[in-house]
């Protein structure tokens, strides 16, 4: 049996009076594409920082590819590439220099240069390889950050909201590159606020709330466990009859989403609309998505 890529056992982290993490247990197998979701302050970044050795857990253990992040920190860090959330960079150097330095810190020398060039090309940075980091646009800096995390060829890659503030084209390009890395055997752990990304890319999802994991399952199972459909109505006049308000999930600008626990409820909704003399401009039946699951599990904070 293969060693898990990440093993997190009973991890607590306390900052003064604040319990940022309250007993996290999580195992991520090699080759998984895993999503860590949760609202701001749920403890995702704290957990990532503990994996990366930037924070020490108050209690508990974390292993990366079987190496404890405290006791065997060198091996653990060799196995991990972290893309930080903030657009940080060193203003003294160009992209290629930064990547070679980063690989060098991990003991990798000129034999690694071909890989660095491969990463530069794969992330569309070839034209910018000799450009100083501070002269790059936000999107290019984001690519360079991902490249830096990959420079030492780690088997496990953690991406902390890598597509925050990134345009659609670049987002697509980044995901296709990361999917390719996953196909080649890398374990990918990602946090994102774009839940449709997690739904499209990740096989398994952990949802965090107030320092705890409140849901941990395959994406398919999570969607199945919250089975149900939504009815999206576009109404003329923009008013929803009061009888339908208990079913209302979301509504603005005359477009209302109603949660259906049973398809028979469609008939009820239509009858109420007829009774109230409200005309329907458009009507759609929609499957539950990860956002619905997320809102039902961690919403209402």
């Amino acid at each position: 049996m293969k060693t898990p890529a990440i093993q997190i056992h009973d991890v607590h982290k306390q900052f003064g009076q604040l319990n940022a993490l309250n007993g996290i247990d999580l195992t991520i197998e090699q080759g998984e594409f895993f999503a860590l979701l949760g609202p701001n302050g749920a403890g995702k970044s704290t957990l990532i920082n503990i994996m990366a050795g930037l924070l020490k857990p108050t209690v508990g253990h974390v292993r990366i590819m079987g190496h404890d992040v405290i006791e065997s920190y060198q091996q653990a860090r060799m196995s991990l590439g972290v893309v930080p959330q903030e657009l940080v960079f060193d203003p003294f150097f160009n992209v290629r220099e930064m990547l070679r330095f980063q690989a060098g810190y991990f003991g990798r020398g000129p034999e690694n240069d071909a890989w660095v060039d491969e990463v530069i090309e794969g992330l569309g940075l070839t034209d910018k390889a000799h450009t100083n980091m501070r002269k790059l646009s936000g999107g290019m800096k984001r690519r360079a950050l991902i490249a830096q995390a990959l420079a030492h060829r780690p088997p496990v890659i953690v991406l902390d909201e890598p597509t925050a503030g990134v345009d659609v084209e670049l987002r697509q390009m980044l995901w296709s590159f990361i999917k390719q890395l996953n196909r080649e055997g890398h374990t990918i752990i990602l946090t994102t606020h774009y839940l449709e990304e997690a739904e499209a890319l990740c096989e398994r999802v952990a949802m965090m709330k107030q320092g705890k994991i409140v849901a941990l399952d395959t994406t398919a199972n999570l969607l199945k466990s919250h089975a149900g459909k939504n009815l999206r109505l576009t109404l003329k006049g923009g008013q929803l009859p009061p009888a339908l308000l208990p079913m209302l999930k979301h509504g603005e600008l005359g477009v209302f989403t109603l949660a259906l626990s049973d398809l028979k409820e469609i008939e009820f909704a239509l009858a109420e609309l007829r009774k109230a003399n409200v005309d329907i401009e458009d009507m759609q039946l929609i499957e539950v998505d990860l956002e619905d699951v997320f809102m039902s599990l961690v919403g209402g904070l």
């Binding site: 930037l54 924070l55 020490k56 003294f92 330095f101 810190y105 030492h152």
Partner: protein, 262 residues
């Protein structure tokens, strides 16, 4: 792509890379980090020698201008060694890019060695540059070259270590500037760069002897002229003791992750 194993391919390449990056960092802005202190030292030399050369003779047979040069070299060497490690760390912390070093398998000892070595190189390079510019204007003997090298090396190492401590401790540029202006600068200026402590009133002579910078400058100057305010062996012991104490504090801070890892 073939996945790698977790063994570090080379133990020395990591710290060597950090050292090289730190060297390149100051070399990229050599006008600020090398040319500027050389010019400042030269201006001090021209002004002080012009004003005081005919009025002051500190050591017998040594013109004041010649007396001044080792002090100016050591002052710049110390300040630049401190500036190298401290400015690099505070910039990396404020900009957030220190994370790129903290994510690596570098040990705290390797981290310390790389920053220290780069600081020493910058200090020695600035000191040597001032020496080579000064000898165009002033005849300076090299009576005991080994003492000169020893104190230059120990002085730059001591201030490089001090710079790492300050860089880790400070959270913003303002705190670093306070450290530089309220600690380093007074200790340097009141250490005998421009005078011999024998020219001071007895009370200030005693106070000066509590200043470690005095021993670095006096020992360094002894190497040039073969005379100093105290024996070079005493200076050596004091400087070594301070270096060991500061290195111990610095390594403790790095090992515990003070202000770097939560």
């Amino acid at each position: 792509m073939k996945l790698i194993d977790a063994n570090i391919p080379s133990n020395w390449r990591g710290p060597y890379t950090l050292f090289k990056k730190e060297l390149l960092r100051f070399w990229r802005v050599a006008f600020q980090t090398v040319a500027s202190p050389v010019l400042t030292a030269l201006l001090y030399l021209l002004i002080f020698s012009h004003v005081l050369a005919d009025h002051v003779q500190v050591y017998k047979g040594v013109p004041y201008t010649a007396f001044l040069v080792p002090g100016l070299i050591m002052m710049s060497l110390l300040q630049n060694s401190f500036a190298n490690s401290s400015s690099s760390l505070i910039q990396s912390k404020v900009m957030g890019n220190v994370v790129f070093i903290l994510l690596t398998p570098l040990t705290y000892l390797q981290f310390f060695s790389a920053f220290l070595a780069a600081s020493v190189i910058r200090g020695l390079f600035v000191g040597l540059s001032i020496y080579f510019v000064s000898i165009w204007f002033v005849d300076i003997p090299l009576t005991h070259p080994l003492w000169i090298f020893t104190f230059a090396l120990l002085g730059s190492a001591l201030l490089g270590t001090f710079g790492i401590i300050a860089g880790i401790w400070a959270d913003k540029f303002d705190q670093m500037a306070a450290f530089q202006n309220f600690v380093i600068m007074p200790l340097t200026f009141l250490s005998g760069v421009f005078y011999s402590i024998h020219s001071l009133p007895p009370f200030w002579q005693i106070v000066s002897k509590f200043n470690p910078f005095f021993y670095m400058i006096d020992g360094f100057r002894y190497g040039f002229f073969g005379q100093g305010d105290v024996s070079p062996w005493i200076s050596l012991i004091v400087v070594m003791a301070f270096l060991i104490a500061l290195a111990w504090v610095c390594l403790k801070m790095l090992k515990s992750g003070y202000k770097l890892r939560g």
